[in-house]
């Protein structure tokens, strides 16, 4: 393989990893941005998406199963998120530390539920055959470069989800309300915005996106009761690095982390790369504690 092909391949891998981080972290950034809720059960929403994909594929096997699974997982996880917000989170809204503990408890309950329903070992979700190929470049200075269809597909989905949420927040009346509540909850409520309903909708949207992300992650990883745990730490990492609650920040942070890891893994092994990544994040946060993008909101000033 040509050296430049290898380097470009690593850039592609960096963006591919970034797209997974974006999908995993977007819902977390949404719910934190609006409600200051640190949702420890976010990883289990990813897990739920994986299992919903498994069940959908049992009913709709064949090439289109995965496309049906994405909206199913979105709606299923959004529904569960809505129930969670309505029963647990809004009742604890004034007590952030209690929310953290309560959602952690919910995550344990969901893990055990998955274990009891589907077994501890995990279930099989395979990528459809139309994603089995790679885009290969066989001539020129990039000869030997292989770009897997699955990863290209995930990049496209991540871009669509990101674009969809940006449009929702910036172009719709609902988005206007969300931004208003985000900037100043009391004033927005005084103007007649039903902040309570906005909370419920945004939290459901966040968990729904996590459910969809779970389907996507199942294409490249396992579906087990504890799978959420492997993504929750990187998800928190990019949300904190990006600036708590900022979607743009989360996106930039995902790309920075993805590219940083892919580039550094050319020289060191994966374990060392993880250490260096965390060192980088710690130093960065020392100099810029607010993250990449500063979110101006009354809620964070209190």
């Amino acid at each position: 393989m040509h050296e430049s092909a290898f380097l470009l391949g690593q850039v592609f891998n960096g963006f591919s990893v970034a797209s997974l981080f974006i999908l995993a972290a977007l819902g977390l950034a949404l719910s934190f941005g609006l409600m200051r809720v640190i949702n420890m059960a976010h990883g289990e929403m990813l897990m739920l998406g994986g299992y919903l994909a498994y069940m959908t594929l049992q009913i709709v096997p064949g090439p289109l199963g995965i496309l049906v699974a994405m909206p199913v997982a979105f709606l299923g996880a959004a529904l569960l998120g809505g129930i969670l917000e309505w029963t647990v989170i809004h009742r604890l809204s004034a007590r952030p530390l209690d929310t953290l503990l309560a959602t952690w408890g919910v995550s344990l309950v969901l893990q055990q539920a998955a274990r009891n329903l589907f077994g501890a070992i995990g279930v099989e979700v395979t990528a459809p055959t139309w994603l089995d190929h790679t885009v290969s470049i066989n001539s020129g200075f990039l000869s030997g470069l292989d770009l897997p269809d699955t990863r290209i597909f995930i990049l496209i989905i991540a871009a669509l989800v990101l674009g969809g949420i940006a449009a929702l927040l910036n172009k719709t009346r609902l988005g206007l309300y969300v931004r208003a509540v985000n900037q100043d909850r009391a004033t927005a409520a005084a103007m007649g915005v039903n902040a309570r309903r906005i909370d419920l909708l945004v939290f459901s949207l966040g968990t729904g996106v996590a459910g969809l992300a779970g389907v996507i992650l199942a294409l490249l990883g396992p579906v087990t009761p504890t799978v959420g745990q492997s993504y929750i730490v990187p998800a928190f990492l990019v949300v904190i690095l990006g600036g708590l609650g900022s979607l743009v920040g989360t996106t930039i942070a995902s790309i920075v982390v993805g590219l940083f890891t892919a580039m550094i893994e050319i020289f060191v092994d994966v374990s060392v790369a993880q250490v260096l990544l965390l060192v980088f994040v710690i130093i960065f946060i020392q100099f810029r504690p607010q993250g990449i993008i500063t979110v101006r909101t009354r809620a964070l000033e209190g």
């Binding site: 690593q10 501890a120 990528a127 292989d146 994966v270």
Partner: protein, 400 residues
């Protein structure tokens, strides 16, 4: 019959048991043994079926009249996937319950944590899982493969197939690091090339950079010591990159029948593993074992190498007790190494002077139905070597 923890009943006997050691344990026509596996936590996935196999053997022996006229009572404890819990529960089993021996452990860290307990309390642990060797204790019977019974037979097979260039990939902990240390010595010694060596943290899910390195270094075969779910991520991402097992062979040391079933045989079909047991092994003893297990745990359950070693350990212990005419751990381990070949689902097995099992090595190719087709058998039984002579020259393990 198995009973759960009996703190209340035992607390009265506690002082007496601690003083008199093993004698109190079989005063009433029963004898207690400990079964110590992880029933919760990340390792429960593998250790619960292993415990089932150990309890199955105990039930079968009891049904035939027990050992030395006594029924075996299994005292079960949960190691909770945590080494210090293993050590604590081992102490509890020996001191409070007065068990005469313990069957258990899976991870090397759990074994290392229990070792000083068994040495201090002069008891005996039967450890059923393949491991990295490099250890030699008179208080442990090692029935799982030593590196020269799993890793090195895999290398021999690969060299016989004509593979010249090897890529070593593993999870970042003691077993893959030590196994690869030994493999590297032998790869260099045999004049083969090392295409690369990479480790990912336990539970790692991203293999994009490693797959890029594999594509660049073009090995003939990958030797995979990844643990658990990382395997699913690795094989899915290899398939996405077009590197299915038929294009680039993968030899895995931590994938057996249950893992293959869970990960989806279609994903892994055509990849290779190296074990001392496969469910598909021929022979009436294995057929009887598989039938008994499926009768108890369901027709779609599968058995694997560590489970069978746990099962065989119980039978080996019972045979050694009969030979010694005593439950005393020191007499039992002396008798165990003097037993000679015992029939088992693995075939004829015995314990060598270093308290490790003499057994045959097999290479299996995974078929789409989730079972392994045996494609290679070691020429005869392999004597266990806790210390690889190339890697650790001068170190030997002589216990009897």
């Amino acid at each position: 019959m198995a009973v759960k923890k009996r703190f209340g009943v035992m607390s009265a006997l506690l002082a007496a048991t601690m003083l008199s050691g093993v004698t109190a344990a079989h005063a009433d026509g029963t004898v207690k043994v400990g079964v110590l596996q992880s029933l919760s936590g990340t390792m429960a996935i593998s250790e619960v079926p292993l415990e089932d196999a150990e309890l199955l053997a105990i039930d079968q022996i009891n049904a035939k009249g027990g050992v030395l006229g006594k029924q075996i009572v299994a005292v079960q404890e949960d190691g909770a996937s945590d080494p210090s819990t293993f050590a604590q529960k081992a102490t509890k089993l020996i001191e409070e319950d007065g068990v005469v021996t313990v069957f258990g452990g899976w991870t090397s860290s759990s074994r290392k944590a229990m070792l000083p307990v068994f040495q201090r309390l002069h008891n005996l642990l039967w450890y059923p899982v393949q491991f990295e060797g490099n250890e030699c204790s008179p208080n442990i019977m090692y029935s799982g493969a030593q590196p020269n019974q799993q890793a090195l037979p895999a290398l021999t097979w690969a060299e016989e197939k004509g593979y010249k260039s090897y890529f070593l990939l593993g999870s970042d902990y003691v077993y893959p690091r030590t196994a690869n240390l030994i493999l590297k010595k032998h790869i260099a010694h045999d004049g083969m090339t090392l295409a690369g060596e990479e480790y990912v943290p336990l539970g790692g899910t991203d293999f994009s950079s490693i797959i890029a390195e594999i594509q660049q270094s073009k090995p003939d075969i990958i030797i995979n010591t990844l643990n658990g779910d990382s395997n699913v991520s690795f094989f899915k991402q290899m398939a996405a990159a077009g590197l299915t097992p038929d294009k680039l062979p993968v030899m895995s040391f931590s994938i057996a029948e249950p893992e293959a079933k869970a990960m989806g045989p279609s994903l892994l079909a055509g990849s290779y593993t190296s074990w001392n047991y496969y469910e598909s092994l021929p022979g009436p003893t294995n057929a009887a074992f598989v039938a008994a297990y499926k009768a108890k745990f369901g027709a779609d359950s599968v058995v694997d190498d560590p489970m069978v070693h746990g099962y065989v350990d119980v039978y080996e212990w019972a045979a050694a007790v009969k030979k010694a005419g005593s439950f005393n751990p020191t007499k039992v381990r002396d008798a165990a190494v003097a037993l000679g070949s015992e029939d088992s689902p693995l075939g004829g097995v015995s314990f060598a002077d270093n308290q490790s099992m003499v057994q045959t090595g097999y290479i299996g190719e995974l078929e789409p139905d989730g079972q392994f087709k045996i494609v290679w058998t070691s020429p005869g039984l392999i004597q266990p070597q806790p210390y690889d002579p190339l890697t650790f020259p001068g170190k030997t393990c002589k216990l009897h």
